[in-house]
Symmetry: C2
Subunit: 166 residues, 2 copies
Amino acid sequence: MPSVEREITRFQDYLQQQGLKLTSERIALVREIFSTHYHFEADELLGKMKEKSVKISRATVYRTLELLVKSNMVRRVHLGEDHYHYEHVSGNSHHDHLICTTCGNVIEFHDEQLERLQIAICEKKKFTPTFHNLQILGVCDSCRRKGQTPDAPDRVKMIQPTKLRK
Amino acid sequence: MPSVEREITRFQDYLQQQGLKLTSERIALVREIFSTHYHFEADELLGKMKEKSVKISRATVYRTLELLVKSNMVRRVHLGEDHYHYEHVSGNSHHDHLICTTCGNVIEFHDEQLERLQIAICEKKKFTPTFHNLQILGVCDSCRRKGQTPDAPDRVKMIQPTKLRK
DNA sequence: TCGCCAACTGAGACGGCGTCTCAACTCTCA
DNA sequence: TGAGAGTTGAGACGCCGTCTCAGTTGGCGA
């Protein structure tokens, strides 16, 4: 699948346009992000690079993510945890997230009616929207079948999927 | 307005029920939260207490907020920044937020149709929702009139209203 | 092709937010 | 009134993300 290469080109175009350089570190990161991850954390990415013995510092990971966000190739999202997650943008499809607080699984969805309704709400409030963020927390189908009861909505801590996974 | 006292009683009930104690520090914090603040940060609350020469440690502030969240009297919310905000819960009314990225102002809204639509989306995905979080970022009416253009949606950093305010 | 220089990198210091630890203290209730 | 569970403050700690700075490198112009 040569789509990763296409993303590298896309990134290169952006960098060039900004008078910035395409370095081997940036290539490696784009390749990693677009070939395997979907939702990921900065630290997770750093770990993956270390695993593959590609020496890239934390500073560079964060700096590259910043550029990718600016170039609109990656989005920074809140998934109910106390730090950022990132996801790569395929096409331009905006979407929101259902987050299972039992297994940490993230389900994406897009709903035109929801988008329209939000715009209508903004109009009513004379608010000019640029972006939005919706997370619905709850229990996914497979966890529900396993008899997991949903956590109370007033829980203090959100589940931390990454840490559970380790 | 004796409503603050009512909240203290409500908190006491919760604490008693859990076998916990109502201390002077907890009373002072509840009084502060429910008499003046609406959206606030933990650190802001700590500062207010210091201003009033009420000696309360950071640990106690966080511990009390945790209890207030558990008792459903306070909610922890994301307002597009990289740390938590809190808001007190009046009645049981759930609401969402419009956040102005220019002035930092937060507008609340509640929309029944939006709530119903979310439930319908969850049903379609066989997802059992317990809670949700919607922030719409953009520019409020008064900032728009002042000719402020909205920030690009791909911006890396969310504006940090509190820091700007200082 | 070469050389220059702005851009980039890594290492580690730094800072903010939130949590944890532990010894001292204080409610509560028997 | 005394025991013991719960609470507190001070400060250490940890995580996430940013910044600094000296050394390195990509890429453009000659």
